[in-house]
């Protein structure tokens, strides 16, 4: 017959558990201190590194991207802090300047695009606007996305929409695209000429005719697309000037 646990054994057990716990939290604490120390050192090194390579970060797009990734990994946003150490670096300036240029380019194109533009075209226009020096040329689509994120503080007047296949559309007019509208934009941006018909949209999105027609009418109403109706017998085609190759080449 198994011996029942006595009071002493239970107390002994509890004591052991307590000791384990104490030891555990001791180790945890020391690890935490160690970790914090490591992070502190890493951060210091990163700052040293940033100062040392300030010019490279500003000039070299690939360098800048990797630096951004490193910062994100340890939870430092070199853009967020306007004062203190990071402002010395001038990283914020780089993106604020880019942000202003993004706004300028977009507003200048609004009349002909209806207020949306592909990210790749925006990049080309920015490069053209920034001048010939190679330091100005080295901006990536990632840089523009980071700069555009900063523009969110202006409300919904400036939004970036992913339209699939790594493509983005930048909207620079007040208002918000509904899910229907951005879906249609996604379909159109994958057409060679940037044009769609109700039939095509129904097929690709699996919508009813009513829903499709309503969504496309809304897009036309917002000036994002033009109607092409060469004769009254055939169904109209809807064209996005923002996606039209013939405009982008000019």
């Amino acid at each position: 017959m198994r011996r029942r646990a006595g009071l002493g054994a239970i107390q002994q057990q509890q004591l052991e558990t307590q000791k384990y716990k104490d030891k555990g939290s001791l180790i945890e604490d020391s690890q935490f201190v160690q970790m914090t120390k490591h992070m502190e050192i890493f951060r210091e090194k990163l700052e040293e590194f940033a100062v040392k390579h300030k010019q490279d970060i500003r000039k070299n797009a690939q360098f800048r991207r990797q630096f951004q990734e490193m910062c994100a990994a340890i939870g430092v946003d070199p853009l967020a802090s306007g004062k203190g150490f990071w402002s010395v670096l001038g990283m914020g300036d780089f993106y604020y300047e880019l942000g202003v240029q993004v706004v300028e380019v977009c507003l200048a194109s609004n009349p002909s695009t209806g207020g949306i533009m592909e990210l790749s075209e925006l990049r080309r226009k920015l490069i053209a606007a920034r001048g010939q020096k190679s330091i100005h040329q080295e901006i990536t689509e990632d840089d523009i996305l980071i700069a555009a994120k900063k523009l969110k503080i202006f409300g919904n007047g400036f939004v970036v929409y992913p339209v699939g296949k790594g493509k983005y559309m930048v909207q620079s007019i007040p208002g918000e695209l509904s899910r229907e509208e951005s879906s249609i934009l996604g379909v159109a941006s994958n057409q060679e000429q940037g044009s769609v018909t109700v039939d095509l949209l129904m097929k690709q999105l699996g919508w009813t005719e009513f829903r499709t027609q309503q969504a496309i009418d809304k897009i036309v109403g917002e000036g994002l697309a033009w109607v092409d109706c060469p004769d009254s017998n055939s169904a109209p085609t809807y064209w996005f000037p923002s996606l039209f190759p013939g405009r982008k080449d000019t």
């Binding site: 002909s112 044009s195 109403g221 000036g223 033009w226 060469p230």
Partner: protein, 173 residues
């Protein structure tokens, strides 16, 4: 016409459909306005027949033509900015002014002052086709347009029109 610089919209199919959305249509008509003026300036012409399928209204490569109501909207937009006037009640024949008549009047008057034509009489033909006006924007301009500009100047008291046997003359002050 090979060297005429068409705007990108000319190759954008919906450019030839009058847009239902107001804002887009305004934008569309503004482009048509500029295109028509540039096209007529390039050809140095002024008369336009709405029913004529000229390259301006028809892009054959694109298989698109601006329908009549669209053409009328374009012409009325031009009229609104002072760059065209209808010649008949049915509004099919139009005159296109790539400078407004006011602008033409000023250009011609400035020229007359600059070249010392003041107080001497010259014919309208001399203004639009004479040796004195070679290189001026109004050289070889439709004489009817020149006459309309001169009438404006006459109203302002800057010249006097007079009729010779069968040609008209003008005296600048």
């Amino acid at each position: 016409m090979a060297d005429f610089d068409w705007p990108w919209e000319y190759n954008f199919p919906p450019f030839f459909t009058l847009q239902p959305n107001n804002e887009t249509r305004t934008r569309q008509l503004t482009v048509w306005n500029n295109l028509t003026r540039n096209y007529y300036k390039h050809r140095n012409q002024s008369s336009l027949d709405i029913n004529e399928d000229s390259p301006l209204f028809c892009n054959n490569a694109l298989k698109r033509r601006l329908p009549t109501e669209g053409r009328l909207a374009v012409m009325e937009h031009l009229q609104g900015t002072g760059h065209a006037a209808p010649l008949d009640k049915r509004r099919t024949n139009w005159q296109v002014y790539w400078h407004t008549l006011d602008e033409w009047a000023k250009i011609i008057y400035d020229w007359s002052q600059r070249t010392g034509q003041t107080n001497s009489v010259c014919t309208i033909y001399e203004i639009s086709n004479g040796d004195n006006s070679v290189g001026e924007e109004f050289h070889e301009l439709d004489q009817d347009v020149v006459l309309k500009a001169l009438k404006l100047l006459e109203e302002q008291g800057k010249c006097e029109l007079m009729l010779f046997d069968d040609s008209q003359g003008v005296k600048f002050f």
